[in-house]
Symmetry: C7
Subunit: 96 residues, 7 copies
Amino acid sequence: MKLRPLADRVIVKRLENETKTASGIVIPDNAAEKPDQGEILAVGPGKMDDDGDRLPMNVKVGDRVLFGKYSGQTVKVDGEELLVMKEDDLFAVVEK
Amino acid sequence: MKLRPLADRVIVKRLENETKTASGIVIPDNAAEKPDQGEILAVGPGKMDDDGDRLPMNVKVGDRVLFGKYSGQTVKVDGEELLVMKEDDLFAVVEK
Amino acid sequence: MKLRPLADRVIVKRLENETKTASGIVIPDNAAEKPDQGEILAVGPGKMDDDGDRLPMNVKVGDRVLFGKYSGQTVKVDGEELLVMKEDDLFAVVEK
Amino acid sequence: MKLRPLADRVIVKRLENETKTASGIVIPDNAAEKPDQGEILAVGPGKMDDDGDRLPMNVKVGDRVLFGKYSGQTVKVDGEELLVMKEDDLFAVVEK
Amino acid sequence: MKLRPLADRVIVKRLENETKTASGIVIPDNAAEKPDQGEILAVGPGKMDDDGDRLPMNVKVGDRVLFGKYSGQTVKVDGEELLVMKEDDLFAVVEK
Amino acid sequence: MKLRPLADRVIVKRLENETKTASGIVIPDNAAEKPDQGEILAVGPGKMDDDGDRLPMNVKVGDRVLFGKYSGQTVKVDGEELLVMKEDDLFAVVEK
Amino acid sequence: MKLRPLADRVIVKRLENETKTASGIVIPDNAAEKPDQGEILAVGPGKMDDDGDRLPMNVKVGDRVLFGKYSGQTVKVDGEELLVMKEDDLFAVVEK
């Protein structure tokens, strides 16, 4: 099953805390806290402006992104928990 | 009876949980939770901009769509419970 | 007495539950629940944009429309309870 | 004393319940409820758009109008209680 | 000391209740209620639009204006209590 | 240390109550109430519009300004308590 | 690991209180209060307008900036606590 996001939405898979520690990131206050990084699995075509044109997206599939702890909405697809958010909920691309 | 949605609204029929499990989707935390996928039964002509032009819709009748648990409003038509939502409440098209 | 709605407003007469059951619609959870369909009695000239032009209305007198349970405001005219709502509160036109 | 409303405001004098019953209108649930019809006493020049042009008003002095129970703000002028509201708070013109 | 209001603000001096009763206005429910009329002491240059142009003001120094009971913010200047409000908080000009 | 405000922000130093009384201003209800006048220490370059142009500012360094009791945010710079606010939070320029 | 902020976001590293006192800044009421100055570590490309153009950013990497106590969202990257905020959350650039 494949998801094709609409407008300026992206589908994000949260990175596991383990993965994150390996790359040097520490989630401090609460060991159970959900990581605030993920990988982009799918990218929408961009928001449509009033002339019917699309504003280009600034992230692409495979980007590692940083987002707010409470950003996005959780969906379960093929047994996997994913996040759906708007591009504007993304803070930054994490470059390796 | 046929529904002709106005503006950028769509009429969605929720997929049953059974159907969803068959296609590999699991709704985890709560067995009674309503599925967050559905099939589009009718599509409005698009939102009208200030010049009276319509912005094109990005979904079509028959599309399987993913949406938020609390999206849309429920209506009963011919004994069937349907959802009315705006296109912007749709997260993604699920491609098979 | 005749009502001439302003801007993008419509005057709607709710259909009685009886009428609705006859056409196959069931309002399930609560027998006393108000029907969410009605007939349009009057249509405004459309919202005026910033250039003073009117955006065309997409419904007409006589249309059977579907709307939200809590849409519109109730007024009593000549002893009859009517609903005033904006076109954008209408979900769909019900075609017979 | 004369009031010259600003922008898209109108000055409305509520019709007395007696007047309304005479013309066939009934305010049902609560005999003490304030009538939701009135007569327009003064009309502003229209809202100014960003170019300094005025959008034309769609009601005129003498029009009988229908409005929401909680629309407008009450002012007392020369001992008479009047309502100040924006044109957009008016639902419809009542034609005789 | 002179006040030069910014943008679309006006400085208003509330009329005393005495003055108002003399001109026939009655503030009914509460003798201590603050009057909702005042005289304009100073007028700003108008709101600046996105092109840096000013939208003209529709009131002038000396105008007697009607406003909402809770409009504006109180300031004390040279021992005198004045009201600062935006032009859009003014309901009407009272013509004598 | 010098502050260069961004966009349409200004840095304001509140006038002491003493200064204000000397110029005839009285803060009545509460002797401990903070004065609502200040002097502008720094002015931003103006808000940028959608074309990247700046809207001109209407106040300048040294202006004595009137603002709301709860306007702005307090910062401490070099031991001095200052206010940061947007130009739109300023009511008027006080001319001597 | 490097962060590439999206749109008009900046990544800020809060200055320690010690650093701040050295440069003459005092955070008074509460010794444990978080400093409201920081250094910009990364700057986004600017907000995209409706034509797909970017509005230029007004701060650059290395700028010392002043912001509100509650501005931004905290993220931990490589063990370091950073702030993500929009440029509009920045009050001023502190010039040395």
